[in-house]
Symmetry: C2
Subunit: 459 residues, 2 copies
């Protein structure tokens, strides 16, 4: 019998996170204060994040210890199994070996708790009583709700109203984990009230929800804000996944030629990929691919520029690939990939050619997800299907080239709470959305690309 | 760091199922042909089940080999982890050790594929091209859909119409796994058409759906029928779980004083419990508890009697605890526990005092589920919450008695597709349903309890 899943024992769980900033050939551009245009320091972020997270945000240490209390709770779902997709390989008749890391085994069903847990912990030890956050479809809000409860913190989630009404399951998960979830715009914040005055029927947006969550956090000393992707410390916490994966692959004797993850803000991609990017910097030949939807082609068509993290221009300016903070992508089902920008770490690595990006149309992702479910059993989240699609592309390419490649992708979460997306797909109600150049140009009008970004040429 | 999860490596997966019939002190009462009243043999069942499953149904062999092809696909989710519920223990301040077996890691999110996979395999090698089945909320229908696809069989699911409309997620899972799912009553069968003539707006019932699925199976040589609980071979396939669990517990040095599972038809309970029942027959002192809802108290208030397995009286008569085939329980959220009878194997073991039953009111189960989610992270299916509730009762009792008991329960599935139940609970829309004696008497009017069932007195 062939080995299907590679497990690590709990005693083998990585005890440090990996910080790719320590190994990047080009140093990161600093965030800028939106008012002064000067580099922003920890003090600018202190009202919304606790100091240990800010230290991690700025850290140049290669490895950062995972606190014992976080490790203990990680064991609820970690180490997660690494799978060999024999049946998908057979179906594709490919000489490639396909591996996937199953992050769907967490109670929330995705990779999101990897950072939610760490953020809840650091807030707890810093005296925070309550965390606020925003959520779209609820993947992040539900993960943070659970982790706050595990560390006995209150949690308040501003959920985009249209999702609050149309996608009730993750809202109910938040409630079950003891969080308060309100539809955004709400009448509880000045930002929310302002929107409601203009339009009482506003469906809300992630930008508005961020504004509400940040406003609620700064009003109160013991309330902080939490973000589920984009920032350095968030990506840092996710690297436990890639570090586990390296130990697991070592058991098989295989090493990946291709590493794949879908990327919205960039955290699930980074979590798997960054430890392999380190190997690449140290000389390994790996193709590292971040996958995005063609309807929100941040990495493949957005320039590297200083831009706001949110649509309402409250955050510092960060240097990243962006389609402009006013860009609103089509309402595709992979809601987690609809962010106008992408993590600065991912952006700099793209610029330095240490990773590359691929954009996939929506229908191909569902076709891939159905193929995966019918061979490997698991039904993926629509976001995850983007990674599945590129894994299939690479496996087909390996067949055409007659190469016995090793392909690894992050199966970042299951889709059991996203089944309406599959129904829409089967009913023929989904379409592909490829952007016209003029749409992109319009979106980019209010940002200015960095004229000469620093770039690594040694890779 | 304490060990939270006990894994088995894939090479340690049990290679045989355990057949409790071989060890039962009282032999089973045979099923009776509904027309003749004579014991029914394999030939009576041959139109709807393939021969290998009928042989297992009647087998007295203690262990039955798991075919290599089934083992290979079991590895998609098995062996499943055994968890120690440290945080629940701490919350309850109990000296008891609480273990739970996590069957929610399967792609369908429950224990159901353990038998669906085996049934699909034996049908495949017997020349079956298509399986039919019925499903209520869809837990079973989705599991069978997946497993049929894995063994390249067609699958047709008759889903109770009210659930088809109100609980669309599992229906969409079936579609994603390539099954055809139709609302029952349908116009495709004589049984369905008859109901629709009488009442075009019939919401359907499990009884009607069974009739449709069986009718569709008998019409066609290469179509067979599949059942997800109650029958001996179904329970047999589930025992892989208890056998795994025994190996896992051996690693800890602990042995359970109490073993708990919720029971609708009895298969998830049996899957965990039967290998421990064997130990009990061989002298171990274990309290083995099957948990049911007070609104459907088959085991605690139904007599041991010959009754039909379905409401429309098509099946053979089977000797079991039953509330009568016409009994319709309240529409509680634990839909999987709303069966009027219970597996004959479970019934005989109850009669022989080798196991016992406990009935739990609905509100207590959700209270338990919320407590569990807020300490251990995982959100349970409403059925599973019945087992959680009794585990908590036993842990509290252990505290009162000052005993360091070892409690083990089957966490048979997650509730992420059942969140509407939790919302109803939080909104105060759920109630307890305890049956009045006269309701029970009315339900029992059309069956006759066995006057002198054989009973074991040695336990």
């Amino acid at each position: 019998m062939q080995t299907k899943k590679i497990f690590l024992s709990e005693s083998e769980i990585p005890r440090q996170w990996y910080n790719v900033a320590a190994d990047m050939p080009t140093p990161m551009e600093p965030p800028l204060h939106p008012g002064t245009g000067q580099p922003a320091g920890p003090e600018d972020f202190a009202p919304i994040f606790p100091m240990p997270l800010l230290e991690q945000e700025m850290s140049q240490d290669r490895f950062i210890d995972i606190p014992e209390a976080v490790l203990e709770k990680y064991l609820i779902w970690r180490p997660t199994p690494l799978y060999r997709a024999y049946d998908l390989e057979k179906h594709l008749d490919t000489p490639a070996k396909i591996y996937f890391k199953n992050e769907g085994v967490s109670p929330a069903g995705s990779h999101k708790p990897n950072t939610a847990l760490a953020q809840a912990y650091y807030n707890k030890i810093s005296g925070t009583k309550r965390l606020t956050t925003e959520t779209g479809a609820g993947q992040w809000g539900s993960a943070l709700s659970m982790c706050c409860k595990l560390f006995d913190l209150e949690c308040k989630v501003y959920m985009v109203k249209v999702s609050y009404n149309q996608k009730p399951y993750r809202r109910m998960m938040m409630q079950t984990w003891g969080a308060e979830c309100v539809p955004s715009p709400s009448s509880e914040t000045a930002a929310g009230r302002k929107i409601l005055e203009q339009n009482p029927d506003s469906p809300g947006s992630l930008g508005i929800a961020i504004s509400e969550a940040v406003e609620a956090a700064v009003q109160d000393e013991t309330t902080k804000y939490s973000l589920g992707s984009v920032l350095n410390h968030v990506l840092l916490h996710q690297t436990i996944n890639g570090l586990e994966c390296q130990k697991q692959l070592a058991q098989t004797g295989d090493y990946p030629d291709v590493v794949i993850g879908c990327a919205g803000g960039g955290s699930n991609f980074a979590g798997l990929a960054f430890p392999f990017v380190r190997d690449k910097i140290n000389g390994k030949d790996i193709d590292v691919i971040a996958v995005e939807p063609t309807s929100c082609p941040t990495m493949t068509r957005g320039p590297f520029a200083y831009d706001f993290g949110d649509t309402v221009q409250m955050t510092p300016l960060i240097a990243m690939n962006t389609l402009g903070h006013s860009f609103v992508p089509e309402p595709i089902h992979a809601g987690g990939l609809r962010y106008h920008g992408i993590s600065p770490l991912v952006s700099q690595l793209l610029l330095d050619n240490l990773i590359r990006a691929e954009a996939i149309p929506q229908l191909e992702t569902f076709e891939a997800g159905v193929k995966f479910a019918r061979t490997e059993g698991f039904i993926s989240a629509p976001e995850t299907d983007h990674a599945v699609a590129v894994a299939i592309r690479e496996a087909v390419k390996a067949k055409e080239e007659g190469k016995e490649k090793v392909i690894l992708f992050n199966w970042s979460g299951h889709g059991l709470v996203d089944m309406a997306a599959y129904e829409a797909y089967f009913a023929g109600r989904l379409q592909d959305h490829a952007l016209h150049e003029d749409e992109i140009q319009r979106a980019l009008a209010d940002i200015a690309p960095l004229p000469k970004p620093k770039q690594y040429t040694g890779a």
